[in-house]
Symmetry: C2
Subunit: 231 residues, 2 copies
């Protein structure tokens, strides 16, 4: 038993089998390929992916912790319905934390930070066409992550990634309307402008407006897809 503490950094490099199953299932639930209420079984998933039940069990476990699955002992495992209450809580938590971090970012941003944000915005504008949706989404996330980094709180974004999960499930339910991408990028531009101007109040307000746009879309989707939800 070595008492040597923590010599190696890489902690999350579990077996590729686990990650493969986990990623595939997560994507399937997020995209709606497997629908809320649908039952899945360890045995069937294991057979389908050509692995044993053990890594599947761990993937199930993890997804259940994230709120994607509901494991009922001796009965089965089911895709969890999207809980409107959980979505609302996600919104609240996200708005509270991101408004605070963007304020900090505006106070601390160096020239290099502003340049980095501007680069992200340029990349973002380059992928606004509907067929590059996944790239657009990734850059959206990257922008928010960068703001957290500039604020000196990268871990806050890590937390939000987990909290946002239920929100993202809703987002995946809809193809966004025509002007959506432009609207998002425009709001990001406003935020970056206020950060560049070292204007905390303005940055917070711009962020709040941005998130309210996103949340409004989520509510709209929830209304038009009520069969996926649970009060």
């Amino acid at each position: 038993m070595t008492d040597s503490p923590t010599s190696s950094a890489p902690t999350d490099i579990r077996g590729p089998r686990l990650h493969g199953v986990y990623d595939a299932l997560r994507a399937a639930v997020l995209s709606g390929e497997i629908r809320p209420g649908e039952g899945i079984s360890e045995t069937r998933v294991a057979a389908r992916y050509g692995v044993s039940r053990t890594p599947v069990r761990e993937a199930f476990r993890r997804l259940a912790d994230e709120g994607f699955l509901r494991i009922v002992p001796q009965v089965g495992t089911f895709v969890a319905p999207i809980q409107l209450g959980a979505v609302s809580d996600s919104q609240f938590i996200r708005e509270t934390l991101e408004c605070r971090t963007v304020r900090l970012a505006a106070e601390r941003a160096a020239a290099a930070d502003v340049a980095s944000l501007t680069r992200l915005l340029d990349s973002h504008r380059a992928v606004m066409s509907p067929d590059r949706h996944s790239e657009f989404f990734a850059l959206d996330e990257a922008t928010h992550a960068e703001l957290a980094r500039i604020a000196g709180r990268p871990a806050v974004w890590d937390l939000l990634v987990a909290v946002k999960a239920q929100l993202d499930r809703v987002r995946f339910l809809s193809l966004h309307s025509e002007g959506w991408a432009a609207k998002i990028v425009g709001e990001h531009q406003s935020i970056v402008d206020r950060v560049a101007a070292r204007d905390p109040d303005g940055a917070e307000e711009a962020m709040r407006a941005h998130l309210r746009t996103v949340f409004a879309a989520v509510d709209e989707i929830a209304r038009t897809n009520s069969h996926f939800f649970e009060t």
Copy 2:
């Protein structure tokens, strides 16, 4: 190891074996019975608790997700050092969310809510003697949870319970000084007073002052126990 501060809020009714191992290990890490850097193995833990490796593995994985353990594949599992960065992030997140919720609580509190808070304060005063430390701790938590409930955001407290984990590890390292309990209860009283007065600004300020007190204690403990920490 009496009662862990929060025995894992999630509503998970899995087998008793898993929970037994999980609770025991969590308490052992939190209390410092197993020290940071120390290695533990699935096999030995399984033998010690008279179960197989499977439930132990699940407990390990969960504890690793919470930041208590670090699993290094093919090498071993170790108690994670307390990361000062993670503690700082916990503080930041807690302050941000709790200041917001207490503000909401002050806006929404009904007479019954104030009465409930007052009851909690009375109970709290009754367990201020040092030999009732665990009861004092539980009531501290209950008060914060109640504030979140009044704010209409009970889930925020659930999140904070997880986020606070690293903070609690630090707290367990020290026996509190003489006037500590009185100081805490006094600050809670101030918060409740401002909530009862429907004064959001005052409530937020009182909460901020309270958390700063707690955080200052954490920093002090971190300084005097630096061997448990990792920068």
